[in-house]
């Protein structure tokens, strides 16, 4: 039936395509011995999906799913983090002795889940996308089965993730009971029509949503899982889940809080301000005390969730666009930093302690220079992309009248300079204590090149990205 094909199936073409690639990878794993081929197929799949994104438009399946600019921008972020993480994986997995094909399949499935979340226009789709993503990532976190740390990470993530899902489901059922619909647009118009904005049930539902999404983006006080899970998971997966699921959480926050509960903006923005300040403070201050670089980056990722929340709190198109920009920039700089950590993991050497980086500039000057760029970018120092991201976020927050909150955020950024630049100090001002080797992985080197270039190019020429995000949200919420 061509009509159904055009109006329904075409809209979910990218998701369908990626799911097909995921299943193909799992099946081909049986016949293909060289797992790097599967990584290649995954990247080819991501490229095909990226190409197909441009052919999708509009609602499908009874308003369960919508392909709009907002969703497509987020899908771009997910595909970027997928490709970069896959590039890192092959060599790392052989070093750890767990180079199995299902790994790539699960990564693709997780990305399908994120894409569904970003495009959900119904609370049921939100929930199912979130579960598809989370289940895949739980397994990936525990992929190094012979490592107790990895298994512990998977179990912790699973327990707390299941807990968060329960909160989300309770929020959804309260919303459904109150409005009689699960459609995001339907909820928004019903609340408006019946003036239910101050209803206590709805306030309770809002709190439950904030708790559930707070878990997914690892905002304080729902961050307890993040350091242990980030430390225990395979490093490429840590890179992947510090960006992908976090961005997916923000995508859903945009859909549920900004659109469905738009009339409740006072309530949820009050909650999010608390979350944002706590995340920035706890993330940055606790990161100072860390000696393991993966844990340090975990706390830094908590703090970055706090910054990105500013864009949501601003509750303006500009805030939304700056939040999307920030997440894309964060994908490049954070995965870049994790790439350096991954590439230093070789057979004899874990290279996860900060002291391992002493004197890196003497032994590997180029790698140290790239790490310097990523650390500068994470701090927010020009001319790197991180500065642009923070600049637009803070501008949007000030324009929305949150000057005091921006001052807090800037102060917290200043604190963060201490632990980011400490890495730089170790690399450049100390003598090499250990002989570190770089893993012989072309994929990881290519990922380094891509992320380094992206951080610098966006930092110097940000206009293209800014316009792209602004154009993406023109039809948002319609």
């Amino acid at each position: 039936m061509p009509e159904i094909f055009r109006t329904q199936l075409m809209v979910v073409l990218p998701e369908t395509l990626l799911a097909v690639f995921a299943m193909a990878v799992v099946l081909l794993d049986l016949v293909i011995r060289k797992k790097s081929v599967l990584a290649g197929i995954s990247i080819a799949g991501a490229a095909a999906v990226f190409y197909s994104l441009f052919y999708t438009q509009g609602f499908a399946f009874n308003h369960m799913f919508v392909a709009d600019g907002y969703g497509i921008f987020f899908k771009f972020i997910f595909l970027v983090s997928l490709v970069l993480a896959v590039l890192l994986s092959n060599k790392y997995l052989s070093v750890e002795g767990v180079n199995h094909g299902e790994y790539y399949g699960l990564m693709l499935f997780a990305t399908v889940g994120m894409m569904v979340m970003a495009s959900a226009s119904d609370l049921i789709t939100v929930y199912l996308g979130l579960e598809l993503m989370s289940l895949s990532v739980y397994v990936l976190a525990g992929f190094i089965r012979h490592s107790a740390r990895s298994s512990e990470a998977a179990l912790k993530y699973f327990m707390l993730g299941a807990f968060a899902s329960a909160f989300l489901l309770l929020g959804i059922s309260l919303t459904y009971g109150l409005t009689g619909t699960t459609s995001i647009g339907g909820v928004a118009s019903y609340l408006q029509l019946h003036g239910l904005a101050k209803n206590p049930v709805l306030i309770l539902a809002t709190i439950l949503y904030v708790v559930a999404f707070g878990f997914k983006i690892a905002a304080v006080p729902f961050h307890m899982w993040a350091p242990d899970v980030y430390e225990g998971a395979p490093t490429p997966i840590t890179a992947f889940m510090s960006v992908g699921p976090k961005a997916a959480g923000f995508a859903v926050i945009g859909r549920v809080l900004l659109v469905a509960l738009g009339s409740m903006s006072f309530e949820w923005s009050t909650l999010l301000i608390v979350l944002s300040i706590l995340s920035m403070a706890a993330g940055n201050i606790l990161a100072i005390a860390q000696t393991n670089i993966k844990r340090m980056l975990a706390y830094s990722s908590i703090a970055h969730a706090g910054y990105a929340l500013l864009g949501v709190i601003a509750f303006s198109p500009e805030g939304l666009a700056s939040m999307m920009n920030y997440l894309l920039i964060y994908a490049f700089m954070n995965i870049g930093a994790f790439t350096v950590v991954t590439i230093l993991r070789t057979e004899g050497m874990k290279a996860e302690e900060l002291s391992d980086y002493e004197g890196l500039s003497k032994t590997h000057p180029l790698l140290a220079a790239l790490m310097l760029i990523f650390m500068f970018s994470l701090t927010g120092i020009p001319p790197t992309a991180g500065f642009i991201g923070k600049f637009y976020l803070f501008t949007a927050a000030i324009k929305a009248g949150y000057t005091w909150l921006t001052v807090v955020a800037v102060l917290m950024s200043a604190i963060s300079a201490y632990f980011y630049l400490r890495v730089v100090m170790y690399m450049y001002m100390k003598e090499p204590a250990k002989q570190l080797e770089m893993a012989k992985s072309y994929g990881a080197r290519f990922a380094l090149l891509l992320t380094g270039l992206a951080v610098l190019v966006i930092g110097i020429l940000p206009a293209g990205l800014i316009d792209m995000a602004r154009a993406a949200i023109i039809d948002f919420g319609s």
């Binding site: 799911a19 699960l106 399908v112 119904d122 789709t125 525990g142 089965r145 998977a154 409005t179 019946h194």
Partner: protein
């Protein structure tokens, strides 16, 4: 539903759930859980949801709990029973849970206006049967979530095999 029947079912579900959580012997805990599931199934029957009742028996009481029992048989029950049932933080946990429960009651108590009603009134469901109504909705309006759920199950199967298969190195 008859209020007496509802009262009995509600009380029984609470009592058996509490028993399932507090028993030290895991086999006893699971048997209490099965009893609780059967009461829940009767509750569904009373709400004209016979399909859910059947699923409750087949999937939960049948498949999942039998799996639980298998897992419990692998455990060393004597060792399980020697330790404390709850960790030392349980009074804090239970008071937090009670606090959230009270908050939910206060907030939803008498200010819960029900939303718009769909076309499926209890009378229509009773005449058309719950199974048919559920099926026709699931395979038309909710086909997309249905397909997504199938992907989730696939991931669960792959994940279970990846995490549990024999080869370690």
């Amino acid at each position: 539903m008859n209020p007496l029947l509802f009262g009995y079912l509600a009380a029984a579900i609470i009592v058996f759930s509490a028993l399932a959580v507090t028993r030290k012997n895991p086999v006893h805990a699971i048997l209490f859980m099965i009893v609780m599931f059967f009461h829940l199934a009767v509750m569904y029957l009373g709400l004209d949801a016979e399909f859910l009742a059947a699923i409750q028996i087949i999937v939960y009481a049948g498949a999942i709990l039998v799996l639980f029992l298998f897992v419990v048989m692998v455990l060393n029950i004597k060792e399980e029973m020697s330790g404390e049932r709850f960790s030392s933080g349980w009074p804090l946990g239970i008071s937090l849970a009670a606090g959230i429960f009270l908050l939910a009651i206060i907030m939803t108590g008498n200010v819960f206006p029900l939303g718009q009603q769909g076309i499926y009134t209890p009378a229509l469901i009773a005449s058309e049967t719950h199974t048919k109504a559920l099926g026709s909705l699931m395979y038309t309006q909710y086909i997309f979530p249905f397909e997504l759920a199938s992907l989730i199950l696939l991931v669960a199967v792959i994940g279970a095999i990846v995490l549990a298969k024999k080869r370690l190195r």
